[in-house]
């Protein structure tokens, strides 16, 4: 087991290395280089100065050497310098990362809990009201553009009925202890998290319903019922435990989609995370920053995939022992 985990970690490392290499080539494919950016910020430079800047930044070296330097740089946490924000990219990203993580993880957990709950309820009565609700929800979650869902929630719950704040992550004028701040952030988080969860909630509840229906029909469930266990015990302890692993697998696979969705949701709610930063840096043509975001978010996805894998091993002994 230890070996397979190490294997997974090594493989994830390779995936990230591939992202770094891709980033390097994208950086090179982009029109203009660092020297151009610097010259621009200085208000123009002659050919000699340009040459000197290029030499300073190693841009006159052969491509493979530049690639090597770029990769070692990234591995040491150096993602370049943002000439637009005037800080090292890594510093900038680390500052924005917590907001995105908070949003993404809250939304994912919300979607999973509510999705599994709806899935279980509707699986117990396949033709009941909850079941139809799950079908409707699934159609809505799949078809509505997430940024539009966000704006609609904003119109209803911030403008028409002002329960939740319109934008941002915290109230700048707020005074009080950390508890007051935590409540304030949570208050700001409600609408963005619900919006982002709305896409995945439907997916999880639908899969959970299908997988519960399959498990509930199996022999060992009948045995459990025949033993005289209560309905709740059978559903939660026997059925759900086995029905959960496809849902967790899907949740792991979906994580890069969650991060993508977060870009749109952050933009709608002016959430100060990596997504809004991505848009800002694209508008400012700040290539190192946007590529840094691509790398950071891939890193988050890879780490979450590893965690998902561990969770699956915990809840599903078949994977742990390699039987399945």
């Amino acid at each position: 087991m230890m070996f397979t985990i190490l294997q997974k970690v090594a493989y994830s490392g390779l995936l990230l290395l591939a992202v770094i290499v891709l980033n390097f080539f994208l950086l090179h494919a982009a029109p203009g280089d660092v020297a151009d950016t610097i010259a621009q910020s200085m208000g123009g430079a002659d050919a000699e100065t340009m040459e000197r800047i290029r030499a300073d930044y190693g841009l006159d070296l052969p491509l493979w050497q530049q690639l090597l330097e770029y990769v070692t740089g990234v591995l040491h946490g150096d993602l370049g310098y943002s000439f637009f924000f005037n800080v090292p990219v890594t510093e900038l990203l680390l500052e924005r990362l917590p907001a995105t993580l908070l949003l993404v993880i809250t939304a994912q957990l919300l979607a999973l809990t509510v999705g599994v709950l709806l899935g279980v309820i509707s699986a117990r009565r396949p033709n009941g009201l909850a079941s139809h609700f799950v079908t409707l929800l699934a159609l809505f979650g799949y078809s509505a553009p997430v940024f539009w869902t966000g704006i609609m929630l904003l119109i209803v719950f911030s403008l028409m009925v002002p329960i939740f704040p319109v934008a941002g992550m915290s109230d700048a004028t707020l005074t009080g202890g950390w508890w007051a701040h935590a409540v304030d952030v949570a208050h700001h988080l409600v609408l963005p998290a619900i919006t982002l969860a709305s896409i995945f909630l439907a997916l999880y509840s639908r899969l959970c319903r299908a997988s519960m229906l399959e498990v509930l029909g199996s022999d060992y469930i009948r045995t459990a019922k025949a033993k005289g266990l209560s309905e709740g015990q059978v559903v939660v302890k026997h059925a759900l435990k086995n029905a959960l692993s496809p849902v967790v697998t899907l949740a792991g696979l979906q994580f890069s989609a969650v991060v993508s969705g977060a870009v749109l949701v952050e933009t709608v709610f002016s959430w100060p995370g990596l997504g809004t930063l991505a848009l800002q840096s694209i508008i400012a043509r700040d290539t190192p920053t946007i590529l840094g975001i691509l790398f950071f978010s891939s890193l988050v996805v890879v780490v979450v995939n590893l965690i998902t894998d561990m969770v699956l091993r915990l809840i599903d002994p078949r994977i742990r022992t390699g039987v399945a």
Binding site: V19, L139, P145, F147, S260, L264, T267, L291, V301
Partner: protein, 294 residues
């Protein structure tokens, strides 16, 4: 009385053409048919709407934020006084075209990679599936944002940016189908009778692998439309071409004054994608009758 002398021949049920059976199954699914009707209407509106309505979506025709229904402007005007209905009709063209083109591209890439991986197995499969996983790790929207920002926000670049990141699901499905079908007897028979790899892949295995791929391709058009809407909502689109997402994005700062400029184009996206997914579900049931029990 029955005439015993001439026995009535027992009725033999004729095997029906698969296409007819699929069509019939599809038509029995009311939701799918409704989706198809809506979809046809949307396509017709996109093709004939702009010339029938005859209002320039780029021209200022009335005071900004004229509410829907007033002064003959059916859906009102946006923050620049442009006719919203004209914008939605013109946007339908862009959204549908990019959605279709990007879906075709991603289905093409996905089938190629999935077919080669599932057919040849071995190290080829290993390499191709690693590439697929790589694309699954990259947050798709961010990657397309990078591509669009580096290579310019023109419609072809946007289409490629969407197609390039959306093929992984098709590749996985195709590979699974190929792995299953390549072991079947008729494939072995075709191989024994001298069919080459190319013929085996495209003439023998692929036609039989198509049903789930068709369903995925249908859903893919919806995903691509949502994707394009997302990009143009962020402003990463050709600024001179009106599209649904772009209308929403550019009118978003004014939702306090006029929320219909955001609500209505979003509704257009929602209804279109909903219709596509209903059709996709219907196709799924019709093409995989065994799964209907679910």
């Amino acid at each position: 009385m029955t005439d015993f002398a001439t026995p009535v021949p027992p009725e033999i049920e004729q095997p029906r053409a698969p296409l007819a059976e699929t069509t019939e199954m599809f038509l029995h699914n009311h939701a799918a048919v409704a989706g198809l009707i809506v979809l046809v209407l949307v396509v017709l509106a996109a093709i004939f709407g702009p010339s029938l309505y005859g209002v320039d979506p780029y021209e200022m025709v009335w005071a900004p934020f004229t509410p829907p229904g007033s002064e003959g402007y059916l859906l009102g005007t946006d923050y620049l006084g442009r006719d919203l209905l004209a914008g939605i009709l013109a946007g339908a063209r862009v959204s549908l075209t990019i959605g279709m083109a990007a879906a075709i591209m991603s289905v093409f890439i996905g089938i190629t990679i999935g077919a080669v991986a599932g057919f040849f197995r071995g190290w080829v499969e290993e390499v191709l599936m690693r590439v697929t996983e790589f694309f699954q790790v990259l947050p798709t929207l961010l990657f397309s944002m990078v591509i669009v920002s580096l290579f310019g926000a023109s419609l072809p670049v946007i289409t490629v940016a969407i197609g390039l990141v959306s093929w992984t699901a098709v590749a996985r499905i195709t590979r699974a189908e190929f792995m299953r079908i390549r072991e079947l007897e008729y494939v072995m028979a075709a191989r024994a009778s001298g069919a080459g790899n190319f013929k085996l892949i495209f003439r023998v295995v692929l036609p039989n692998a198509l049903p789930p791929i068709i369903v995925q391709a249908a859903l893919m058009v919806g995903t691509a439309i949502l994707f394009e809407a997302g990009l143009s909502f962020l402003g990463l689109t050709d600024p001179n071409v009106v599209s649904w997402g772009q209308i929403i994005g550019s009118n978003r700062p004014y939702i306090l004054d006029a929320n219909y400029t955001v609500t209505l184009p979003g509704l257009a996206i929602f209804v279109t994608v909903l219709a596509i997914s209903l059709v996709g579900d219907g196709l799924n049931d019709a093409l995989n009758p065994r799964l209907r029990a679910r």
